[in-house]
Point group: C2
Chain length 206, copies 2
């Protein structure tokens, strides 16, 4: 069995990543969503190992010092990161593991794990993004403008990713992601052993 893929997905604010991933997971039962670790306190309803692994600061720092965090960052006084062990276990079982990473984390991940497949999801245009944010109807004008400003800063980070998927029609975006995963599994470097196996067999039947 081949090792699974490590798939890094980022999207600027309001890029619609959540909806796309939900559809993707519904269609692909070989996918696993990586659970992040954090030192912030659980909110009501959050469970350890589900939304996050909730760790003490000392535990988190020990994992860092032991090289057991694939990536991590600090954000308003708390650590957030990806524990290496569960990711590697899933991959060894042939599962494709999805990491949702902040846009700024893409370059770091690619350096740490050059074998990962990184995908940046972005809106087809700023107008569409603005319309989507406003149509939610839940956000004040100032919040919408702040999110647009943030997206504008984040979009140029697309250059650090292998692929870009435009979130225009939902179904197309989902099919793009599925095609990327399928194609990546066909890369030669992930199939060296399989190619050798074709020839090995040849020896036995000669």
């Amino acid at each position: 069995m081949n090792e699974g893929l490590l798939v890094v997905i980022s999207a600027p604010s309001g890029g619609g990543k959540g909806t796309i991933l939900k559809e993707l997971f519904a269609k692909d039962d070989n996918l696993v969503l990586s659970v992040s670790a954090t030192t912030r306190s659980p909110r009501p309803g959050e469970e350890h190992g589900k939304q996050y692994y909730f760790l003490q600061k000392e535990e988190f720092e020990e994992l860092i010092s032991q090289g057991k965090m694939l990536e991590y960052a600090q954000y308003v006084g708390n650590y957030y990161g990806t524990p290496r062990e569960p990711v590697e276990q899933w991959m060894a079982q042939g599962k494709d593991v999805v990491l949702e990473i902040e846009v700024q984390g893409g370059a770091q991940i690619k350096k740490l794990m050059p074998g990962c497949v990184s995908i940046f999801i972005l809106p087809p245009s700023m107008e569409v993004l603005e319309k989507r944010l406003r149509d939610r109807g839940t956000e004040e004008d100032a919040t919408v403008r702040k999110r647009l400003e943030k997206a504008r800063e984040e979009i140029p980070h697309a250059k650090d990713y292998d692929y870009v998927v435009f979130n225009d029609r939902l179904e197309d975006a989902v099919e793009d992601l599925r095609a990327i995963l399928r194609a990546e599994k066909r890369k030669y470097h992930r199939n060296e052993t399989a190619v050798e196996r074709v020839l090995d067999h040849a020896e036995t039947v000669r």
Copy 2:
């Protein structure tokens, strides 16, 4: 409009490339098959511009010296090659152009056109390949063995290609090819302008 892809496809003898490509072309109307040029004489029923562009030796050599051949090779005293102009015209129109290339030509093409997408189609095992060759019922035992021997020499060339597709179930192989084309169109380097356009628009609505 984005430029089309240049897709190089090779397969060892008896790899079933013909059937796969037929299915692929039936499903993807954005694909164009490149027509090769040759200095060999047309066989009965062959038309200039259809199976091949039939050229005089002097014409072919002039195209070479003018850099108008994407790649070429000599084979039993005749030239075979890919004229650059029609390929580039199709690509400029957004069409994906498929070049069928001899296994040995893969490395050359990749050097000449690093932007191409190269795919190696191979049988799932030598047993399957042998069975398929024998099931045709048209080939003598010696011919089958010669083809198997040739395939064995060709398969290691898979390492010069970006992707490998195993021709196990036909539908899977075709879907693999379609996924590869779709994914390649989502590569960041093919979408720089599209990403910039998202932000350009932002300026106008600010």
